[in-house]
Symmetry: C2
Subunit: 218 residues, 2 copies
DNA sequence: CATTCTAGATTGAACGCTCATTCTATGTTA
DNA sequence: TAACATAGAATGAGCGTTCAATCTAGAATG
């Protein structure tokens, strides 16, 4: 098929941080360059639509050189997914460590909603979950990370619920977790389907809904 | 270079009913075959991962013959998206016509949740929105249909809200609509990330959350 | 200090394959 | 016969991947 979607030019090679790498080795830097470039290409062309040639150009190196750092294209996908979900993991872990848990969560709704509604973020995350829907290896990575996130979030919710006198069993807590996750993940889709939505009002409705959700009596 | 401005309307040139064919014409049947086969292939391999050869094999015809019914691969994508979202449109329209609106909606939560959690459905719908995130033509179709759905759902919600004494402005109603949409669309992602979730409990939490959402005071 | 040595970094061409799409030729039907 | 349905080979581009050849820079050796 012809290239019908006129995309922004791939970012030119940026050969900045080669010398003076006292910290990370050159290999790590290169690897990170590839991952960043690949994330960009996957975002704008999809996993299968992005070619190694595109990625290598965006990363400022030859196509063949990519294979010094990754076994194949799928390994790049897996690394991006792992990286992305690790970030999410540490985020939720920090959440759980907050003192005033419920209000800390409510306070984070605004930034959380904004993040999910960012079209660039949304595009990549949707791409990842769409790939997980059909690629078993990606699915495994995604599910492992999601399990850890859910466990952390469920424990956080238990603290919130017990502070207001509710003592739930695990299954109920997990269902609460699922619905809360669905609400936020749904925003990824909303940002694509309706890019003009009123973010501030959505945040307010979201905050009320979150409060209701955490205080609902089963 | 890439002067593919080709904004051809996606509707086929409406092939005239060939003389006495009271049934659906052979062309329409063939077209439907292609669409069904393509939906299957897209679901399992993604838009870019599915080849015309695969699709034609699944549809029981030669690869070249596909091009008698569709200009190119992207036109197939667009037709599937249009078909899929038209179905959703008529569904919400029926919703709005219900008599006892709020309880009708709550009653439909169970089947709605089940539908979104079906992995095959979820895979295709995620594929569609992921493609919309990067393909402007698909995005336009998706957004047009979504707008109509939102308007219908917002009016339905207005009826619910006014029945319980709330008189909201359009912006508030639209925010409610957005959050409700996000909740359901988020299930698509959840069904991939956690295929083992407890559907029954999720339905119950969902129903309570929906009720709270519709009764929340801004 | 100058030199060889060496191992990793890097390239770019080449390979075999599959892709979307086109074209031509042959049924099929009315 | 005229018009459409269909197949299947042909085309040229682009794909992921491999690989032999070069470059580079520091360590080892003299």
């Amino acid at each position: 098929m012809k290239n019908m979607i006129d995309t922004a030019p791939e970012t030119p090679p940026m050969p900045e941080p080669l010398s003076s790498s006292s910290e990370s080795s050159r290999a790590e830097t290169r690897r990170a360059q590839i991952l960043a470039a690949a994330a960009d290409c996957f975002r704008s062309h999809g996993f299968h639509g992005a070619s190694i040639a595109q990625i290598s150009k965006a990363a400022g190196m030859s196509a063949g050189h990519i294979y010094h750092y990754f076994d194949n294209k799928e390994a790049i996908i897996a690394a991006i997914v792992a990286q992305d979900l690790e970030r999410f993991l540490s985020l939720t872990a920090g959440f759980r460590a907050a003192r005033n848990v419920q209000e800390a969560m409510i306070g984070c709704v605004a930034s959380g909603v904004e993040e999910k509604l960012d079209p660039a973020t949304a595009g990549l995350k949707l791409e990842i979950v769409a790939e997980a829907a059909r690629n078993p290896r990606v699915a495994e990575i995604v599910r492992d990370a999601d399990r850890a996130c859910r466990e952390s979030l469920a424990e956080t919710l238990r603290a919130v619920r017990e502070a207001s006198g509710h003592h739930d069993d695990d299954a109920t807590l997990q269902a609460l977790t699922e619905v809360m996750a669905a609400m936020f993940e749904g925003l990824l889709s909303r940002s694509i389907r309706n890019p003009d939505l009123d973010r501030d009002r959505v945040v307010r409705v979201f905050q009320t809904a979150m409060r209701d959700l955490m205080n609902q009596t089963p």
